[in-house]
């Protein structure tokens, strides 16, 4: 009786702390920030190898792990310059709003059947697209607010880019939902416990992979911020920590789409129970799949030049769109044929 009371207390505290843990640790703030920091560091190290360099070297031992923290501090201490003709409110607020949108979308991703921050049930997949659909609006506003020729061209490009990518992505995701028989991300993951959807939906898998790179605005599709043409596209006028936020937003959005990609096609949190507690091993498998996916996306940046806007539109509307519809029909055929 005496021994039970503290453990009960502990249990109730833990139970009540669960949402707090989710917000603070995983998939919340710490996870997102650590992901951004580690991936940027890893990207700089890996691409430096491709360029016959060593990359970050001095900050935090010879590996330069603390370089990103130093960079962040530097950006934080820098002066924020607001152009004279800019719309001040939008100019300052857009970069701050920007990383929160993909961060909101991450809350829908199940790390375990029980470990979901935002339980949207059967609405979780449409909700993801609804939330993520806001993200192209912000660069458009930001580019307009800065009132600069480069930023305006960059923000127009953003709009084109997202429209040509998002429709094939939605069609592919709905094919997955048809196969799983539910829009609930948790149930989509559970229905992949025998076979990952990457195998029966190979076309959708490839399209979603390309779409993930487009949505995260990474090379070869980083057209809105093409440095050699548009200085930094819609980011040109941002300085100091505002620029830091826009850079962070890129990686948070990359994380959100990578997590969705893993959830839809790579079996989500499914995997052998190797850490004893199912919850821990589920989180482990999620992170492991992320750690395999991220270097592949990063290496693409070192290998391919950037596409042109018209070439990307052609890719999106002539190839990705018809192929995703084909994929939808194949899924329907498989479903009606009773194979899945």
């Amino acid at each position: 009786m005496i021994l039970e009371a503290p453990s009960l207390l502990m249990k109730s505290v833990l139970f009540n702390l669960k949402p707090l843990t989710q917000i603070i640790v995983i998939p919340g703030l710490a996870f997102i920030l650590l992901f951004a920091i580690i991936v940027v560091w890893f990207e700089r190290k890996l691409l430096a190898r491709a360029m016959l360099r060593v990359g970050p070297y001095y900050c935090g031992g010879r590996s330069g792990v603390l370089q990103l923290i130093a960079d962040f501090l530097k950006l934080f201490l820098k002066e924020i310059v607001i152009p004279q003709d800019a719309h001040r409110v939008l100019f300052v607020s857009t970069p701050i709003i920007l990383p929160t949108i993909p961060a909101l979308a991450i809350t829908l991703i199940p790390f375990d059947l029980d470990w979901v921050l935002f339980r949207a049930g059967g609405l979780s997949l449409p909700m993801f697209f609804a939330i993520a659909g806001f993200s192209p609006l912000i660069p458009v506003f930001a580019g307009w607010a800065a009132n600069n020729k480069y930023t305006i061209i960059g923000s127009l490009r953003t709009a084109f880019l997202y429209i040509s990518a998002e429709i094939p992505l939605v069609i592919c995701a709905s094919a997955v939902a048809i196969m799983a028989g539910s829009f609930d991300l948790g149930r989509i993951v559970e229905s992949q416990s025998t076979i990952w959807f990457a195998i029966p939906q190979f076309i959708g898998f490839i399209i979603f992979f390309l779409g993930l790179i487009i949505e995260a605005e990474r090379t070869p599709f980083d057209i809105p911020t093409a440095e050699v043409e548009l200085v930094l596209g819609w980011r040109t006028e941002f300085s100091g920590i505002l620029f830091g936020f826009t850079m962070m937003a890129e990686y948070v959005s990359f994380l959100a789409w990578a997590l969705l990609f893993i959830t839809l096609y790579l079996g989500g949190y499914n995997g052998p129970n190797i850490l004893g507690l199912p919850l821990y091993s589920h989180i482990f498998w999620m992170l492991f799949k992320l750690a395999v996916l991220v270097p592949i996306v990063i290496l693409i940046r070192g290998v391919f030049p950037r596409l042109r806007m018209d070439q990307l539109l052609r890719l999106g509307w002539y190839y990705l769109m018809p192929l995703s519809i084909l994929n939808l029909f194949i899924t329907l055929a498989l479903k009606l044929g009773g194979i899945f």
Partner: protein, 371 residues
């Protein structure tokens, strides 16, 4: 420069001189959405008055400022000036000096072409991997030049009457080593650039310059040869040792950005062959003839043409019997190609994203344009 008027609905972007990719110039781009209507090159940011400086120097002192025209390609430009000076002084360099001159010029040409296509690859948005590879590989050649001349840049090694010094001991072996190393590397470049699908999409069919347009607009160098015109001063009017050397003039029929890149690529192969030939077959003898310290040229008009990495350089020198030239007119290849660049938007449909690719496929050296 007074800016020409623009029509409504068209945005004029000032591309440079403060821009990540522009270099020391400004290009005004009139765009309607993504389509470029007009290109205006606003040159002159790096004008140093080299032609005027040369009037206030003796013929030998003039070597120093003229090599500053294009640092990456100093030997070719220096040779152009030296040929004009030799004509004015009426001296003939010894045979061995001519061979050494050819070798240095070809090393410079490789240097310059490596830089050019490194930049072109970077301008397609390639994360600068290939650009840094070319930078690293240039070191091999710069080491050779350092061993030969004592400096990595701007060495003033080619002087009226020959070259400064003979080849150092064991230099030929070093040359062969470097040539073999570079041949191995170029296979990798070919795979990373020409055979890269996305790079091909960005360069093939971009900014096509047809043969008759290239001739009409006065293009020169790799731009002209990329349009299928077989013209190279080294073959047409051999100077230095090019008459005795065995090499081909590279042409490509397509006239697009990729053709110009391929011309540079194959020219590097030819240059490597030339360097190897010089290392193997160089004749013996002295490397310079004595000339007076303050030579007095005969009055008259002297013209020299050389093929630099960017095209034909003409030096037109007038002398009036004094120690200094009366006037030196430099016809620089980069400036000629910039005229072609301005017309490209009228001949083709060019998008904003193509601008860096196009300008770097033309490969102007702005210091050379402005002089």
């Amino acid at each position: 420069m007074s800016e020409p008027q623009i029509e409504p609905e068209i945005i004029r972007i000032s591309w440079g001189p403060q821009h990540p990719m522009s270099g020391q110039t400004r290009i005004l781009i009139d765009v309607d959405g993504e389509v470029v209507h007009r290109l205006i090159a606003d040159l002159g940011f790096t004008h140093r008055g080299i032609e005027k400086i040369l009037e206030n120097r003796t013929l030998l002192q003039g070597l120093i400022p003229i090599e500053r025209m294009a640092m990456v390609d100093t030997a070719n430009i220096g040779l152009g000036y030296v040929l004009a000076v030799e004509e004015a002084l009426g001296i003939e360099p010894p045979e061995r000096a001519n061979w050494i001159r050819s070798m240095i010029c070809e090393i410079c040409r490789i240097n310059s072409h490596l830089y050019a296509f490194g930049l072109q690859v970077e301008s397609t948005g390639y994360f600068p991997a290939v650009f840094l590879w070319t930078t690293v590989d240039r070191e091999v050649l710069l080491d050779l030049l350092e061993r030969l001349t004592g400096a990595r840049w701007s060495y003033n090694f080619i002087i009226p009457g020959g070259v400064m010094n003979d080849l150092p001991e064991g230099f030929q072996d070093k040359v062969r080593e470097a040539v073999n190393y570079l041949r191995g590397r170029f296979r990798q470049y070919w795979e990373a650039m020409v055979e890269n699908a996305v790079f091909e999409m960005r360069c093939v069919g971009v900014a096509v310059l047809r043969k008759e347009d290239a001739i009409r607009l006065g293009a020169t160098g790799p731009v002209l040869r990329g349009s299928g015109v077989d013209m190279d001063v080294r073959k047409d009017e051999p100077y230095a040792a090019y008459g005795d050397l065995d090499f081909k003039v590279i042409t490509q029929p397509d006239g697009d950005a990729m053709a110009r890149l391929k011309v540079r690529f194959h020219e590097i192969e030819q240059s490597l062959n030339i360097i190897e030939q010089v290392a193997n077959e160089i004749p013996g003898g002295p490397v310079r003839v004595k000339i007076p310290l303050f030579p007095r040229p005969k009055p008259g008009e002297f013209l020299s043409r050389v093929e630099t990495a960017r095209g034909e350089l003409g030096i037109h020198m007038f002398t009036d019997g004094g120690m200094n030239p009366y006037r030196v007119k430099i016809n620089s290849p980069s400036l000629r190609n910039m005229y072609v660049f301005e017309r490209l938007a009228e001949l083709n449909r060019i998008l904003v994203a193509d601008i860096p690719v196009v300008i770097n496929s033309i490969d102007p050296w702005y210091l050379d344009c402005d002089r």
